[in-house]
Symmetry: C2
Subunit: 172 residues, 2 copies
């Protein structure tokens, strides 16, 4: 089974699929929509892309970054609409959907809520056992969100080469 | 054919179905979700309710109030998410979705963008030939949005008893 992390956005929606069995990333990238299209069409396109991900990697949970309005009022509307579409698509299938705040993500992945983007990306690289920090940044953010869910629910979040003891019994 | 007006909201989502043929309201009300449920479940519930409306009254267009963030930051997130879900559901079916700003709605229905709520509700009553202003307010707002779309696209927006000349040829 998989955990799907989503960094919601209308123009760029980061996603990362992590296998619960081994903690490895199976797919990671960005769903984009055409800025020149009308918003409803872009939302429909995003919904179709999300359905495709849910079909290809049926997740046991979808972890979504909770949108905070204060950060950027100009783009907040599209982010809110996109997060609504993602959450409705997943919850409509009976999939557990959990929201995490940016501070929860930083805390879970980098150890403290004041971690900067580079620290988070470096930790994502380590936790997923990647050769380089994931690119683009939206995908790295989505990976951090998925890793947060694994950490919060006792799933394995350490790379296979880590010597840390791991929880077991989370293989779906 | 129908026009579906939507006043988006997560807790209360107003809707109004107007028949293009005669300009009468066929259905009007509020889709509600349980505040005690998690947001993703509420969005899934809203999506299912919207699909039910689209099934029962296949619209040629869905008119949605454009959310303005300045108005109420506290509820704006839920409104944005709800509007995203509604627009994605309709656009995914190939239905035209059009957003109208509050000022456009006031201007189209009450004649000027500074109209107050009571004026808009009174005009909705007149335009839909109702015995009283529609209740609750969310439903009246949704009716105003649907009427705005009819006015903007040349559809009939005057009640049957009106002596005003009417546009014709908009029967779907």
């Amino acid at each position: 089974m998989f955990v799907l992390g989503i960094d919601p956005g209308l123009t760029r929606c980061g996603y990362c699929v992590i296998s619960v069995a081994d903690g490895r990333a199976r797919a990671m990238g960005v769903l984009t929509t055409d800025k020149d299209l009308a918003v409803p069409l872009r939302l429909a396109e995003l919904a179709a892309d999300v359905r495709g991900l849910l079909d290809e990697f049926p997740p046991q949970a979808v972890a979504v970054e909770r949108v905070l309005f204060q950060s950027n009022v100009r783009t907040a509307m599209g982010v809110g609409q996109a997060s609504g579409v993602v959450m409705a698509e997943a919850a409509s299938r009976g999939i557990e959907v959990v929201e995490y705040s940016p501070n929860q993500v930083k805390g879970a992945v980098a150890g403290h809520g004041n971690a900067d983007k580079v620290q988070v990306q470096t930790m994502v690289q380590v936790l997923l056992d990647l050769d380089a920090p994931p690119r683009p940044a939206d995908a790295a953010d989505a990976a951090a969100i998925a890793l947060t869910h694994l950490a919060m629910t006792g799933g394995r979040t350490r790379p296979a080469r880590s010597s840390r003891p791991r929880s077991t019994g989370v293989v779906a």
